[in-house]
Structures are given as structure tokens and as C-alpha cells.
Amino acid sequence: MGNKQTIFTDEQLDAYQDCTFFTRKEILRLHGRYHELAPHLVPMDYTNDPDCKLPLALIVNMPELKENPFRNRIVEAFSEDGMGNLSFNEFVDMFSVLSETAPRELKAIYAFKIYADFNVDNFLCKEDLEKTLNKLTKEELTPEEVDLVCEKTIEEADLDGDNKLSFADFENMISRAPDFLSTFHIRI
């Protein structure tokens, strides 16, 4: 291949290419973006898998995430420790799932984690939905309207009648939404 780069070994790049939806060039570009978030923290040489994590505050300042009301939850959904600290692997994972070619099922799993308060339980209950709605509308709706929307949403999507949305309910609803794939997509 073209110019010899020393950031990753060939095997690492092959692994990235097989496990994510990015090509080698895009992985190198992502590394550039990761590096410029904290140039003194992120090493240029990843051949021996350095253990470097960037804190949440740095990641959510990226222009792609800065104005997104769900930015904290997005980053937390992809961090191993749940606090939002991303290593480069998790950084790549995040943008890979949010890329154009990721399949609907994979996106639905992470969308559920983002919209549900994933630390507490594995369900989307009414409180989670209220928080999501307030983030969506920047608290422009009145509390009664928020209440009504939450109730109707759960009523529409809940299949097994437990007044909460499990992942199966959520995925079933997403599968009927043709726009989901195009809106749940960040270009990097």
C-alpha cells in the first residue's frame, strides 16, 4: 500500500477493517481526529496498544457532537466504564455504529442504550422517556403534553403490556421506521 505509516501495524489495520465499517484510510483519519482532541495525551504510535482514555468532556467538544442533546449518553453508551471515558477502540466503535453502512439491528441496540438510562435497568420506562423528550424539544413542551406523549408512545410501542418498553418492543418499532437508518447517522 502507498505511504508507510507507523501508527498501526498492518495486522491492526486489517483487524479494524474487518471489525468496523471503516476502511484503513478512514481509521487513520479517525486516529488523527482522536489525536487532535488531546495532542499531548494521545500517542502517535499505537502499535503496542497503549492504554489511553480521553475523558467525556473532551469527546463531547467535538463539532460532530457538541450541539447534540444526547451527546453525553452517546459517549457513555460506548464506554466500557460507563463514565464516558473512551479509548481509541471505543471511539472507533462509536463512529462505526453511527456510520452509514451499519445495519439497522446494530444501530437499534445502541439507540436503545442511548435513549434508555442504561445504567439503571434494561427498560425504557416513563421517566426515561420524559428525559428523552425534554432533551429532544429543549423543554418547550408543557408537562401535561410531555406526560401525554410519553403515555401514548408507550401505549403504541409496548407489545407485551407491561407499560415499559423492552428492547424487543423498541426494535420492533424501529424496524417499522424507514427513516431511522438515515437519521441515526453521524458523518465523520
Partner: protein, 790 residues
Amino acid sequence: TPMDEETVHDSFNQLIAEQSQDGALSEAFELQELQRELTEEENDVSHLPGREHEPGGRGQRDVELGEDERATDPLIADYWSPATMRILSSMPSRTIGRNRGAIISQYYNRTMQLRRRRQSRPSIKHLEHSARPSIRGYGHGEDTLDAEVGKREQLVNNLRNLSVSDRVRMLREMPLSVAEKSELRRLALQKERDTQGGRKLHCCSRLKFYIIILWQVALKRVSGRFGTGVLSYFVFIKTLLLFNAFLCLVTGAFLVLPQVLFPPVPAAGRPPFCGLELLTGAGYFTDTVMYYGYYANYTLQTSCGDEDDGHHNASLSKNATLECTSTQLSYNMPLAYFFTIGVAFFITCIILVYSMSKSFGRSFRIEKSHGILAMKVFCSWDFKVIRETSVRIMSENICTQLKELLTEVGHKDDDTTLGQQLWRVAVHALAWTICIGSTAASVFSIYQFSEYMHGNLQESFRGSTQEPLLREASMLALPVLVSLINLLLPGLFNLSAWMEDYESPSVRTYVSIGRNLILKVSILGVLCYHWLGRVAADPQLKCWESFVGQELYRFLIMEFIFALLDTLFGELLWRLFSERVLKRRRKPVFDIARNVLELIYGQTLAWLGVLFTPLLPAVQILKLLLLFYIKKSSVMMNCQAPRKPYRVSQMTTIFITLLCFPSFLGASVCVTYTMWITPSLSCGPFRELKTMFQAGKRWVKDLEKANPNLSMLARAHSYLVEHPFFLFLGAGIFLIVIYFQSQVVDGHRKIISLLQEQIENEGEDKKFLVTRLQSIHEQKKDPKRRERRQ
């Protein structure tokens, strides 16, 4: 009976023994709520008279439970028995997507299925064995560490045995972290010692890579500011560019290049180059490789025998000439012309139908009206939008849409009186009359004007009194008229739609698209009649195909110029006007549907013109490139994000369908008709033939003569092509297949509703079993309570 209770308890024993210890305190709170809800339900139920004698003794248990509920404090941490808690915490509904073991076993099952090449979706046959799909598909909760490791090894084994593309696809789809996936991959590839490193990109994927990075930065900026809707317009430009690039490549390689290498004898009296040619396509360009008339109607041959000096004597020279003709490269121009155009259209058709079906599959929804609010909440936030003002506008939009949906859901009433309904129908009828009337008027005016222009042309052949430059410039009059109509009439349609009242914004968009489509189809129809009916039949025009090609070139150029003017006046000046004069802060909105229809119209012209002007796709490519940059700068400077909701996948599907059906189909019908009528006698590759099809038939006859074995094939071919019976048979089979598929879709719909019912019942069963388990546990472990009660 106690025996039943024993078996129930025992069957859960095994599962309980295999559960991993989970820190389930947080879940305990949630489960307690569930229990409270359930017992509240059952309390209500038990208060109804006559419920104590329920079959199965359920009512009794419930009453007992209810009493228990009242007796104990519901917030005691060990209210749920540990067994019940363990069961509940490992249920698939709680572990999907979270529990690593569950993911690994799920993907083990999938890779197993892939290996056995079964369908990955469960077929209908499998459903009858599943009373409990929740237990069937998900690896039975064998989540202990050993079981997980075992499953992991099996998964690695399966991955190893898949093909490369399948393995890559499986790996990418797994919802695990990248580190774990690369570990799995490393283990799977460990045993394979073949060189995976340095895998060179397949040429197809390299091409795809270059196509993807074209305009990537520009598209990102547009989507960051305006969202997915406006982005789809620019992506559509890119798609059209690819189609034209393919056409250009094919015609360039097979038609233009050979003809350029072997130019015919240049005709006398070629006018000098002046700037007007770029607009009219006539003059200097008339007798060039741009148009049909230039192409040879004989077989092009490389000349040979020039290098030899006269060293050979007579006999040798005869041999030499024989050898010469056999090593000569010959290129049958008429045949090449016919087949190139035919094959290019055929391949374009296949690509179009394929992308249309893919797009349709992505956007098709079986149940249309159910779940709109939920989808609006979860799927309407466009993650691509980056700019702060656009994000704010998007929030406001979503807020408005939610409020509208709430009021709709609130009262879906139709308490409009008869008078109001009649008034609405009258307004609609008036608007449609205006639109159809204006369309008919413009079509009639084009018809008359084209006849007038044609009369002018015939006069000019008899004896020209005008100077040639003016005559050529007057050829631009018809394109200018048509482009003017295309520019002004949609504005009229918008005005008449403004006074109408529609049920939903999507109906408004569809009606607007429909009206614009009718306008464009009628315009193109009358133009095709003018070209193929009037111009082609005119005996005075020596080379009508080249003339039609020039007309199409003029139309394309004029369309481009008017698009520029529209951008300038519609967007830039309007913004300046509204800012300075009207002092409003609202910039104009980019009308996606109208612009896409303009693109489709331009592409139809390009497809119509390929037969007459093989270089027209190249002109279209240039035009699209310029249009992309101009529209992008205009949109960034002058427009604001759209305020109306825009369903991207649906609209994209509609646009691709419009590109395929009226546009491409119309163009190919015209081209087929052109191939049927008599070509002109004095120019072009089909000079002496009766129709263009003769070129193909002649070749088949020549083949038959050269090789008598092929006569069967030739006869079969002529029989097939000339008898319409096979066409009807093919169409009939096609319709039967479509009907069959639609019945299958209907059946799927019914199965979906049955399965939804089943899911609800499963939920009820689950609740019942869990509470039963709980009550049994309590009865077993707390005999004192029992005694106390009794």
C-alpha cells in the same frame, strides 16, 4: 396439585442452578414495583364476586397473595425470593444487548445457521415448535463462566469455518466492543496461516471507495447545516453523475474513440468557430463527432500494406494482401452504434430497477398508521445536524410536530359540516382546473410555436433572407420558451396549492409533485411528437437526427442557464430583498422536490439524446458538476433549514421511481420508436437501411452465411424477436409473479398480527408463572406463615 407444584419447581431448579450471581439490587426495586402492580391488579380481580373458584386454583392463590401483600412491608429487600430474582434478572428481555454471554450465544446460533446455509430468518415451519420463542432462540441462560467460555470457543470455531465475506459481515454486526471483536477475529484466523495481511483492495471496492469520497466534505457541510432532507438532493446529483459517467464511458469507448481514430472525409464548407456554437450546438459542431451524422456507415478498417516497400513480387503480394485483410482490425460501425446504445440502455435499466427495489425495500412499511408518535419521538432527531441554529430549528420543528400529532391523536373527528366539505371540494376542483388548464395552454402554445419554428426552418432552406448568425440564434427560441414555462408554471401551482387545505403535509407534497410531473410529461410528450413526428418526416431536412441532437443539446444548455437564473433570482436576490426591503430574518427555504424534478427532467433529455448525440452524457456530466457547486454555495449562503417535516427515505424512493418509470421508460420508448422509423438517407451509420434494427438483423444474416451451423440460432432469434406472442407471454408471466409476491406480502401481514397477539399472551404467561413461582416459594419456605393464616 402438590405434584404439579413439585414439577414446576424442579424444572426451574436447573435454570436457577445455572444462573450467575448478579448484583440485582437495583433490579430488585424495579421488580418489586412489578410485583406491586401485579398484586394490585389481582387485588382488584379478587374483589370481584365469584372469583375464588377459578380453575387451577389461581384465584385462591391470588387472594392469599393479596393478604400477604397487606401483611408484609413491600419494601423489604428480600420480598422477592432469590430464585425468582435470579430468573427475572436473566430473562432475555433484560439481557438482550447487555449480557456478553447472551450476545455470544446468539451469534453462535447465527453463525451455526449461516454455516448450515439455512435461512437466517425463522421460517414459518419452525414456529409451530415454539410455544415459547423466548426460551427457544436465546441460549437458555447458560451464563456461567464455563458455559460462556465454551460458547466463545464454539463461536470462534464457527467463524473460522465461514467464508471471508460472511465472517467479516458477522464480525461487523456483533454488538460487542472492537477490542473483543478483534480478539475473536485473531483467534479465528490463528489457525489459518495464509497471508491475510496486505490484502489488496478488490478493484470494485477501490472504485466504490473513490465514489464515496467524492464530495465528502461538501456533503458533510450541507448535512451538518440542513439535515438529511437537503442532503438527499445533493446525493441525487451524485447518483445521476454516476449514471452519466457510465453512459459516457460506454459511448466514448465504443463509438467516439473508433470514429475519432478513423475520421471520414471532411465535408466541404465547414463554418468557422464562433462563440454561439456553445449555446446552439450547430455551426462548427454540426459535422463533428458530437452528432449522429458524422458516424460512418461502413466497417472501419485499419489500413495496412503501407509499411511494405515493393519488395514482393506479384504472387507474394496477393498472399500479402490476403494476410493483410486477415490481420486488419475491422470495426463494424453501424452494428457497434446499434448495440452500444441498446446495451447501454439495458444496463442502465437493470441498475435503475435494482436501486429502485433496494430503496423501496428500505422504506416500505407494512402497517402505515400505527405507532406514528413513537416513531416521531425516537427517529426524528437527525444526528447529522451540527450547527447550533439548525439544531435549534430542528428542536422547534419536532416540538411543533409532536403538538400537532397530539391534537390529531386527541380528536380524530370529522365534524365538518356538509357545507364545509363542499367548499373544500370546490376549492380543490378550482385549483386542479387552474393547474391542468395552464398545463394544457402551455402545451398548446409549445405545439404552435414549434410548428411556426419548423415553418421558419423550411423557409430558410428554400432561400434565406436572414443572416446565418441570426438564423442560428433564432433556433434558441423554442428552448427558451420551454424553460420559461418550466420556471414559471410551478410557481403558479404553488400559489394555487396555497389556497387549498390538505389533511397532511405529505399529501400536499405528493399533489405538488404530481402536478409538476404532469406538466413535464406533457411538455416532453409534445416535444417528442415534434421531433419524431414532424421533423423526422420532413423530406427537406437532410440529416434530421443531427438536427434533433442539436435541439436536445440546446434544450440541455438552456435548462442549465435557467437553473442558474432561478438560483440567482429565486434565492440570492430574494434573500437580499427580504433582508433589506422587507426586513425579515427568514431566508428562503430550499424546495427539494422541485429541484429534484428539474434534475429528473434534465436527465430525461440526456437519455433521449444519447442516440442522436453520443457526447451528450459528457455535457450532462459537466452540467451536473457545475450545478452541484453552484447550488451548494447558494444553499449555504441564502437558504435556511426546512421547517416542514420531510420523510427522507420515502421521498428518495419516490424520486428513484420517478427516474425509472416516467423518465427512463419514456426515453427508452422514444429511442425504440426512433430505431423503428426510417433513418435519414444521407448521413449517419444507418444510411441505406430501412430501420436501425436492420443493422442487427444484417449482422445475424452475415453470421448465418459465414457459419451455416448457426442458422438454427438465427432463425430462433428472428422468430422470437418478430412475433409479439412471446412478448405477451413474458409480460403475463411477469404479472403472475407480481401477483404471487403480493399475496405473500399479504400473508406476512396476517402473520405479523398473529405474532403480536402471541407476544401479548406470552407476557401474560410470564407474569402468571413468575407470581406462581413466588407464591410457591413462599409457601414452601415459610410454613409458619401458612399456619398463621390457617
